[in-house]
């Protein structure tokens, strides 16, 4: 009966079918299909300009595909009723690349914003919940009164993660979660996401360029190339696939370095 123990047969949370995206004359996606199961951490990789971020934005309903459907929680989000969309909005969280914290609000108010937006929770409850969320994201309570402009890059990401998790979403979208962080900060951010994933059991859809993050976090990887998802699978399966982009991305010098780490301490999946 409990929802935290996920059912053994993976349920499809997001289903992208036959997606086509066009900007003017250039086609970005054509016949793109992708299924994302409950509880997994799926990374989307691809060369620049292959429309990774566009795909993510389409899943969030920030952009409309030209053709095809995106189904989230069994509902086509481009034909959903406003009630279904409101539900979807409260059950999904997004971590933007630059954090996108509201610069006019303090750290506390940024995290409290999604809870206050429901307009039913009492302020005393919100206060407790915000401090707990900040604690989960590794932000000590004394930073709560600070403004986003006085935070370091790593702290901004942590606060943004706390805000994305404020309503405990089922799906968490991450756009380049470790871009702009130094290696140790990105390392600790990756382990933070892993720990929270283990604790809260949400589904993660992530776009990243960073091989270390990719190897450390993803349970499956979807490779975008030739306007499609050419292959989806664990990192070992993806490397087997014969495609020039994969050869270059994973088996180039940088890729091999990241993969040696994987072999050594086996902290990927």
């Amino acid at each position: 009966m409990s929802l935290i123990i996920k059912p053994p047969n993976p349920e499809i949370v997001i289903n992208v079918q036959n997606l086509r995206t066009q900007f003017g004359r250039s086609t970005i996606h054509n016949h793109l299909n992708l299924k994302i199961s409950r509880g997994e951490i799926l990374s989307i990789v691809g060369g620049s300009g292959t429309g990774k971020t566009v795909l993510l934005r389409q899943m969030l309903r920030l952009e409309q595909p030209t053709q095809g459907s995106i189904t989230i929680f069994g509902v086509d989000i481009n034909q959903a009723t406003s009630e279904q969309i409101a539900y979807f909005r409260s059950r999904s969280g997004m971590l933007f690349q630059q954090g996108a914290l509201y610069s006019a609000l303090s750290v506390f108010d940024n995290v409290a914003q999604p809870m206050r937006e429901l307009r039913v929770l009492p302020e005393s409850l919100i206060k407790d919940a915000v401090y707990m969320k900040l604690d989960m994201a590794g932000i000590a309570p004394e930073h709560a009164a600070k403004m986003p402009s006085s935070l370091s890059g790593g702290m901004v990401k942590r606060v943004a993660l706390a805000r994305a998790l404020a309503l405990e979403p089922d799906v968490l979208f991450l756009d380049e979660p470790t871009a702009g962080l130094d290696p140790s900060a990105s390392e600790s951010f990756v382990s933070l996401i892993l720990a929270l994933h283990a604790e809260l059991g949400f589904t993660v859809v992530m776009v990243t360029h960073d091989l270390d993050t990719l190897v450390a976090l993803s349970s499956r990887i979807a490779v975008l190339a030739d306007k499609q998802v050419i292959t989806v699978g664990t990192i070992d399966e993806v490397i087997q696939y014969q495609h020039p982009f994969i050869q270059e991305f994973f088996l180039g010098a940088r890729g091999r370095r990241a993969l040696t780490v994987l072999d050594k301490n086996d902290y990927g999946k």
Binding site: S2, L3, I4, I5, G74, S90, D128, K133, D135, S149
Partner: protein, 373 residues
Amino acid sequence: MFNTETPALTETQANSITVSGCWQVHAFSDGKVLRDISRTLSQLAQRDNLQWNLSQIGAFDHIGAQILWNSWGKKKPAQLILLPAQEGFFRRLELANQLAVPKPAKSRLTTVMQLGSVMLNFFSHLLAFTELLGQLILDLLTVIRHPGRAPWKEISANIFQMGFRALGITALVGILIGVVLSYLSAQQLRTFGGDIYIVNILGMSIIRELGPMLAAILVAGRSGSSITAQLGVMRVTEELDAMLVMGIPHGLRLIFPKVIALAIAMPLIVIWTDAMALIGGMMSANVILDMSPRFFIQKLPEVVAMANYYIGLGKGVIFGAAIGLVACHFGLLIKPNTESLGQGTTTSVVSAITVVIILDAVFAIVFSRVGYF
């Protein structure tokens, strides 16, 4: 996926409470559900020795857990039945209890001290503004000595942007004000049979006072705000810092061209606004007083001394430079966040208009004996 089971509390046996339903935050998004639950919870909080059974809860999250936790007085009740999967939530809540939440620091300033800080703030603005003015004069001297270093392209672009582009709106407002003024004065003058004095009234008021004033207020609203916002965004995107790093001084490349362009464009806009307002007044005089435009134009130089025209032009130069300086001053003070940007732009426009009116009063006093026959 819609988990619509409403959260519920039922007393299944004496002193045993079964919690059931979906205890996730979206289940409470209907305000009534949360009100009912919290009322029941506060009633239950009065009673001791309750057994809580959470094993019937369908879906749970930290906010749902927090609602129960707070009603228990932030500690686990003595008798609690939990699913293994729910233990994590309460472990988190127990940890959160130990967080030292800082108390918001109270402002220790008394009313007098607050007044003082407002005054100090005002003086710091004054100081920064004086520095800006000094820098502008130094830049002006540099440009006079080395004309090749002047940012001519920026100046001309700014004149086009803030001067030429403002012609439409100033013409419209000028004509309308001319019409209004002419109608109002004509009504009064006709009762005294002094129709002919409409030329004096319109000529003096528009050329000496209203033309420069209208132009200044419109330009302050139009260009002042855009200058402040532009500098503010450059602060947000670190472009201002990038310029400093490359050794490009803000004064000469950003502020100087804007202030000079406004000082050049404003008197031209003043002439334009004067002309439009007079045309508007002249046409209305033709309609209501049957005064021919030819007579109006012939009469104008006889009743309005040329000095008034020069005063109007001088006002244009000074007002333009003042608007530019005030806008730049507030633009450079903007901090890198959205609220400061909005506030800075508002303050900039309000201050620019206030400064223009103060300068206008100074002009009125200094030239009180000039320009009358």
